[in-house]
């Protein structure tokens, strides 16, 4: 069984839950930007949660199946049509040999996940099937899909059609997105009023928003605490001696436009970071469209851990219902 790519969409890649253990060599985790949605899609079709699926951004692909399988689409509201017939999101459906899956325009969110029973069977590379396009590594030939690509799918019986994730378990950002973050890292480099403004201001997702990171604009620029530049850091007040960047870290080059690093993060560099978006909210960033109004909300470690548990409990509910 295979998937033929008739139209690739804007940016569709093979992703699973990622490739930990190589960040010290500059090879990022990669994997689904919305891991919750990927896990749900896989659970719906009867796969392991971390099976490889397709992540499509802003626009869906057009795919033909060469055999029978169970399919589910989760994440962004990107209405799927099987041979022209609308299929509900977050719900499994059967496909037969020769069926064509296409998509209407995006209604909400940014990234949809298409899981197929058995999972996309591109080769495992450093323990993962995820695509890291910047390093031309993994996935299908290390790149986003193109028309004419054929993706192998493992044979599997697949779960039955009509299984759905309950409405109250479908997670996504609100119209005004809120990203919870713990201040830290080089937080001491910004003045006290600037630190306050950072969390007060409403930011907008900039067009430069991809798997490496999301840029935000329209908030007030940061003022820095004066200093003599340390040797090796560079002369700009936002420069540091090049260091490792956490996933979710918020760097502010020149003090103007914050960038939140995501699953394909550059692993390090010379810009100060004001803090880090908590793990529970990383999925939400993957569903933000450009121009979305966003606020950063200051939280502490206990709140971050509580949010992490809430997310896990929500996933546990889905697991219990579909397992």
């Amino acid at each position: 069984m295979a998937i033929k790519v008739l139209k690739p969409g804007l940016s569709t890649t093979v992703q699973d839950l990622g490739r930990p253990g190589y960040y010290h060599l500059g090879i990022p985790l990669s994997g689904a930007m919305d891991r919750f949605a990927l896990s749900c899609a896989n659970l719906l079709v009867g796969n392991e949660e971390g099976a490889a699926a397709l992540e499509c951004t802003f626009m869906g692909p057009e795919l033909e199946f060469t055999g029978d399988a169970t399919v589910a689409v989760t994440g962004a509201e990107l209405p799927a049509r099987l041979n022209g017939t609308l299929q509900p999101g977050w719900t499994s459906f059967g496909v037969k040999k020769g069926d064509v899956l296409a998509f209407d325009f995006l209604k909400k969110g940014a990234r949809a996940y298409i899981a197929v029973s058995g999972g996309v069977a591109v080769p495992l590379l450093l323990g993962s099937r995820s695509t890291y396009t910047l390093g031309a590594l993994g996935g299908h030939q290390g790149r986003k899909l193109e028309a004419g690509d054929v993706l192998p799918v493992s044979e599997a019986r697949g779960a039955k059609a009509g299984r759905a994730v309950a409405e109250d378990c479908r997670r996504g950002p609100g119209a005004q997105a809120e990203l919870r973050a713990i201040p830290g890292l080089y937080w001491h480099r910004v003045t006290e009023p600037s630190g306050r403004h950072f969390f007060e201001d409403s930011w907008k997702v900039a067009p430069e928003a991809d798997r490496i990171g999301y840029r935000f604009r329209d908030g007030r620029p940061l003022d820095f605490v004066p200093r003599t530049p340390p040797f090796g850091a560079g002369s700009d007040p936002s420069n540091i001696v090049d260091a490792c960047y956490p996933y979710g870290s918020i760097q502010v080059p020149g003090g103007t436009e914050p960038i939140v690093l995501h699953r394909d993060a550059v692993s390090g560099g010379g810009y100060m970071m004001v803090g880090t978006v908590i793990s529970a909210d990383m999925d939400l960033i993957g569903q933000l469209q450009p121009h979305t109004a966003t606020r950063f909300v200051e939280v502490d470690m206990p709140a971050a851990l509580a949010a992490r548990h809430d997310r896990e409990n929500l996933l546990n509910k889905v697991r219990a219902a579909l397992g």
């Binding site: 930990p20 253990g21 960040y23 010290h24 060599l25 500059g26 090879i27 590379l125 450093l126 890291y132 910047l134 390093g135 031309a136 590594l137 993994g138 290390g142 973050a181 713990i182 830290g184 890292l185 937080w187 340390p230 040797f231 090796g232 850091a233 560079g234 002369s235 420069n239 540091i240 001696v241 090049d242 260091a243 490792c244 956490p246 996933y247 979710g248 870290s249 550059v266 692993s267 390090g268 560099g269 010379g270 970071m273 803090g275 880090t276 978006v277 908590i278 793990s279 470690m301 971050a304 851990l305 992490r308 896990e312």
Partner: protein, 291 residues
């Protein structure tokens, strides 16, 4: 040097050994991160040494952030007592300085540079008071460099020149980053050298290009078959200026699977190095060339 710890969200601990770059800070980062690796703490998923800092990624469901921090401070005090001696490799990297590809690229992005009338090499020679490009190349390739961090993108080494601070080459990054840099460009920004492992955006001054691949996701190149990325933090690099003919030959050898990089195992002592930097560098050169 007092290590400053900070949580990066609920999954990372970031440790700044020193605000300022130095070999001492880098060695301490190497030493603590090796200790973390050896202690096999359950829940640790990434151990990343960097120039004068390091970062640990952990799963807070397996080890609480407070316990993780306690482990690190414990390992730090043990690492402080250790000797600054490492077993590592010295690797020779051939460089075609002033090559046509980085030259074409730097001309394309001239309006983003501090000195649009000069090339990056001419500019770097001037701001480092080295007079001519030839002198600059001699200074750049005369002493070895430490790989003090690997990252930004896959396999990219940050390099720290092994000379006294007053002789270290320094050059600012471009005023605005370029959107293009040839693959395998030898670059420099601040006090750090680098080799761009993949083509892409970049802000470092561009001095030349190496024919020797350092990252191979397809794992076809003989010496990258096991590792994919050539460099590890702690490796020592020595540049070797080459001619266009030698560059073309090396490229052909890489293509034919015949290219064998010159690399040797070596034990490095920070204390001995600091007592006689030039003498120690001559010894390293001896190790590299087998005399």
């Amino acid at each position: 040097m007092k290590t400053r710890y900070s949580f990066g969200g609920d999954e990372h601990i970031f440790a700044e050994i020193d605000e300022t770059m130095s070999l001492q800070a880098f060695f301490k980062s190497l030493s603590i991160t090796s200790a973390v690796r050896e202690s096999r703490i359950a829940g640790v998923t990434e151990i990343c040494p960097a120039n004068a800092s390091f970062q640990i990624k952990f799963d807070p469901d397996k080890i609480s952030p407070a316990d993780m921090l306690a482990e690190l401070t414990r390992l730090e005090s043990a690492a402080d007592k250790g000797a600054s001696v490492i077993k590592t490799r010295i690797i020779e990297i051939p460089v075609l300085y002033n090559d046509p590809w980085t030259h074409e690229t730097l001309m394309r992005f001239r309006e983003r540079h501090q000195d649009p009338a000069a090339t990056d090499l001419e500019y770097a020679a001037r701001v480092n008071n080295l007079g001519t490009v030839d002198n600059f190349v001699k200074a750049h390739s005369g002493a070895p460099w430490f790989v003090s961090m690997v990252g930004f993108v896959a396999g990219l080494p940050f390099l720290y020149q092994m000379v006294e601070r007053k002789r270290q080459i320094e050059a600012p990054k471009y005023l605005r980053p370029r959107t293009d840099t040839p693959k395998l460009t030898v670059g420099h920004g601040g006090c750090f050298g680098c080799i761009y492992s993949v083509r892409g955006a970049g802000g470092y001054q561009m001095f030349g290009i190496t024919p020797m691949p350092i990252y191979d996701p397809s794992q076809n190149i003989s010496y990258l078959r096991d590792a994919m990325c050539l460099f590890n933090p702690g490796d020592i690099v020595k540049w070797k200026p080459i001619t266009r003919e030698a560059y073309d030959q090396a490229l052909a050898d890489v293509e034919a699977g015949k290219f064998a990089p010159l690399m040797r195992d070596v034990t490095f002592s920070l204390d001995e190095f600091q007592q006689d930097i030039d003498g120690y560098n001559r010894k390293l050169d001896g190790v590299l060339h087998g005399h």
